[in-house]
């Protein structure tokens, strides 16, 4: 062994402090906690949609909630597992959740091609509100997840960036979903997809710089 390697090892040993092995469940607790805070804030400041309050929620609400939660949780799980690297340790379950979630915009696109919806069906003003509230919620969730991930050693910062963005976008949209009263496929396909896509792109652009090691 070279002299410099010897000196380095002595220095590293001198610095040694006990550490707790990273636990992905702690990362998931942060994500779930922030998502619940976001949902509570939406319910408090914007209100819960009427049909849900009366216990007669539309079936589309449950489908939308389920898909967004499934996508958010699957991608967040992949992110927290990336904190502990290992050759042969692949996390690809999130791909299936993403494919399932893509059915909403895909169906909306096919339906639009068959029967062009009127502009009113897209409700641009409400859509922008959906985008901004989901975006703020996503920012909070994504920040918490990124801060937690900085402790780990993700070997693919770019993929981690995409996944942090998708997870936070989906969970942010799931929080706003409690308030959103619209059930048609055109609205959902457009305005619940945009926050996820925008958050994913921002995640890809911003997160890798923060987690590179």
């Amino acid at each position: 062994m070279s002299v410099s390697a010897n000196h380095l090892i002595e220095g590293l040993v001198e610095e040694l402090e006990p550490v707790r092995a990273l636990q992905p469940k702690n990362g998931m607790a942060i994500v779930c906690g922030l998502a619940m805070v976001a949902a509570a804030a939406v319910a408090t400041f914007l209100g819960v949609r009427n049909d849900l309050m009366t216990g007669m929620a539309d079936e589309m609400f449950f489908l939308r909630s389920g898909v967004l939660l499934m996508l958010g949780i699957a991608t967040a799980l992949a992110v927290v597992n990336m904190a502990r690297p290992g050759v042969g340790k692949l996390n690809r379950g999130w791909i299936w959740a993403l494919i399932a979630a893509a059915l909403f915009p895909l169906t909306a696109a096919i339906m639009s091609a068959i029967n062009m919806p009127p502009v009113e069906a897209l409700r641009p003003m409400q859509g922008l509100k959906c985008l901004s509230v989901s975006g703020v919620a996503a920012l909070a969730i994504g920040s918490g997840l990124t801060l937690w991930l900085r402790q780990g050693a993700p070997t693919s910062p770019e993929r981690a960036g995409w996944l942090v963005g998708i997870a936070s976008g989906a969970l942010g949209a799931a929080a706003y979903n409690l308030h959103c009263p619209f059930n048609d496929i055109y609205y959902i396909g457009l305005w619940f997809t945009i926050p996820v896509v925008v958050a994913a792109i921002l995640g890809r652009l911003v997160v890798p710089r923060l987690i590179r090691w």
Binding site: L12, V13, A21, R84, P85, G152, T155, E158
Partner: protein, 174 residues
């Protein structure tokens, strides 16, 4: 002789708990293992720096090791990450003699084969692997690599860029 997988794992678990004697033994064993791991996959002049940078990453990221899992795949993931980072740094050097005596330790043959850098290089298209091997590992110039592979000079550059990007996305694949 290099420590076994189980010895590595036990040393790391104790090091996470703050045991300096075990940590010192662990780093010495890691140094030996990494030196063999990187042999022939980096210019010999750069191997000391690469091994030391990897040891520093092991130190900084030791909390990311899961004590319930094998140690060497974790060390290999850290090593692959630092290796690709090192290949990204552009350098030109003389045609150094590779250290022929440095071969993978046969003691952990199966594990080493699964996590090897050779295997990672084999996951990208052959043209990209050849460009990376010739320019970034063997130290040929772009012109020399183009003549050797039959690729144009710009294709060699593109292949290096794409190959490194692809490998960095495949670090945890075996």
């Amino acid at each position: 002789m290099i420590a076994s997988e189980e010895t590595f794992r036990q040393l790391m678990v104790r090091a996470q708990g703050g045991d300096k004697i075990c940590y010192s033994s662990l780093l010495v064993e890691c140094e030996k293992w990494l030196r063999r791991y990187f042999a022939r996959k980096i210019n010999p002049a750069a191997i000391d720096d690469l091994v030391q940078e990897t040891l520093i990453s092991v130190h900084r990221k030791r909390a990311s090791y899961d004590p319930a899992r094998p140690f060497l795949p974790w060390l290999a993931a850290i090593g692959r990450y630092r290796w690709i980072d090192s290949l990204r740094k552009i350098y030109r050097h003389e045609h150094d003699q590779l250290y022929e005596e440095m071969v993978a330790d046969p003691q952990d043959g199966d594990v080493t084969a699964k996590v090897s850098l050779e295997r990672l290089l084999g996951m990208i298209p052959p043209g990209q692997a050849a460009a990376i091997s010739l320019v970034r590992i063997e130290g040929l110039s772009i012109i020399e690599a183009a003549a050797r592979t039959g690729q144009s000079e710009s294709l060699v550059k593109v292949n290096i860029h794409r190959g490194l990007k692809k490998m960095s996305a495949l670090i945890e694949s075996e």
